[in-house]
Symmetry: C2
Subunit: 237 residues, 2 copies
């Protein structure tokens, strides 16, 4: 019997609509699956019902893969694949395997000869980069900034210096409740001409993507608290 394939299934970035962010065939493929490895079972079920109101949740299997999952559990998550079933991996938001625990299952799949099929959907990293006007020839995503202010400032100053030296675009984020701290640190520590992009509420109706110098941001800063945001430092192309 052929082994199943792992489908990496993107979901929304918090918005209600899927028709602007998920291709039709990706939805169709997703609806055909009955085995899932999910970061958050509530949001995964809500997403499945969103793309198909009649989706048979109760006939489906959900394994939970989050930060608390023991590596020893992963093997058992793979068992449907050996029975020839496909499995969908669903993250809490956006593309699985990028900044969530989903990569662990992909890694295991490769080591055991299971095919992995990544599907197209919204990535706040990529959408912010496309919308920034900064170089996409070379860029680094750093994930979450350090929690300690001193470490965060030194990271931001390193990104600024490296951008100036190499032209690399640096993307980073933080939990929404710390966004205003990040903004403070950017505006108080970066040089006037340094270009900063803030991409807020990406893919939502309230989306706001702006690139300005640190100097201009000081005049035009707005309230980012509780809104998901991606930050970038780069050189306007």
């Amino acid at each position: 019997m052929d082994k199943g394939t792992i489908y990496m299934i993107p979901t929304t970035l918090g918005g209600e609509s899927t028709s602007d962010i998920i291709p039709e065939d990706v939805k169709a493929q997703t609806i055909g699956l009955r085995h899932f490895i999910v970061e958050n079972i509530k949001s995964a079920r809500r997403y499945l019902r969103k793309i198909d109101r009649t989706f048979p949740i109760d006939e489906s299997t959900f394994f939970i893969l989050n930060k608390k999952t023991e590596p020893s559990e992963l093997n058992s998550f793979m068992s449907p694949l050996y029975d020839g079933h496909n499995i969908g991996v669903i993250s809490d938001a956006g593309c699985p395997g990028v900044a969530d625990p989903g990569a662990a299952i992909v890694s295991l799949a490769h080591s055991t000869g299971i095919r992995v099929h990544p599907m197209v959907g919204p990535s706040s990293i990529l959408l912010a980069l496309m919308g920034s006007g900064f170089s996409g020839q070379k860029f680094t995503f750093h994930g979450y900034l350090p929690k300690e202010r001193r470490d965060r400032i030194s990271a931001l100053k390193y990104y600024e210096g490296d951008t100036r030296k190499t032209g690399t675009t640096h993307l980073f984020m933080d939990t929404p409740f710390r966004n205003m701290n990040v903004l403070d640190d950017l505006l108080n520590n970066l040089a006037d001409p340094t270009m900063i992009c803030i991409a807020c509420d990406i893919s939502l109706p309230t989306q706001d993507i702006r690139t300005m110098s640190a100097k201009d941001w000081r005049d035009k800063a707005y309230d980012l608290a509780k809104r998901p945001a991606m930050f970038a430092i780069g050189i306007g192309q």
Copy 2:
């Protein structure tokens, strides 16, 4: 009159189908536009006709933005926006503004108060990352490798060392006719346990994404010549 918005329009990565890689609303938005800034006029027209066989090419305006475009020309490309028209930016393949000249127009837009709306579509960088099993918490895309073998090898060895030290995933590519040189350089210069992902023909029916150690790749290397490929060095999660 309100100024127009710039829509960043993703296209296929060389495949024929769009239903698996372009959301319905992105197609609908694209079809409604009559002004475009495109990297390659032939492929842009072909794409528009693919998503709408009756698309009025002859009633549409196309500005060409490629490596040969003079920066002084960019201002004139923006004129429809000031007349209230939206403009679509279309790259040769995949997401505009990421590894193509499209970012220049976005940068200009930000400096003149024009809104930029990035739309969801296929990115070989992101799909390779999702399919690799490597860390997406921190990753760098390096674009094209250096042409000179000596420089290329030293870049690859730098990526290998940095991955080992920091866990960062390094993604890079080359023109398809040099893929076998890249593969040679990887297999002849990296340590046995170093993990390499090669994502070939991403989003095409012939897609092949595999992650193995350098040691295993030496036994299982296959012909990558003339096939678009994304390479990555990382640590399996």
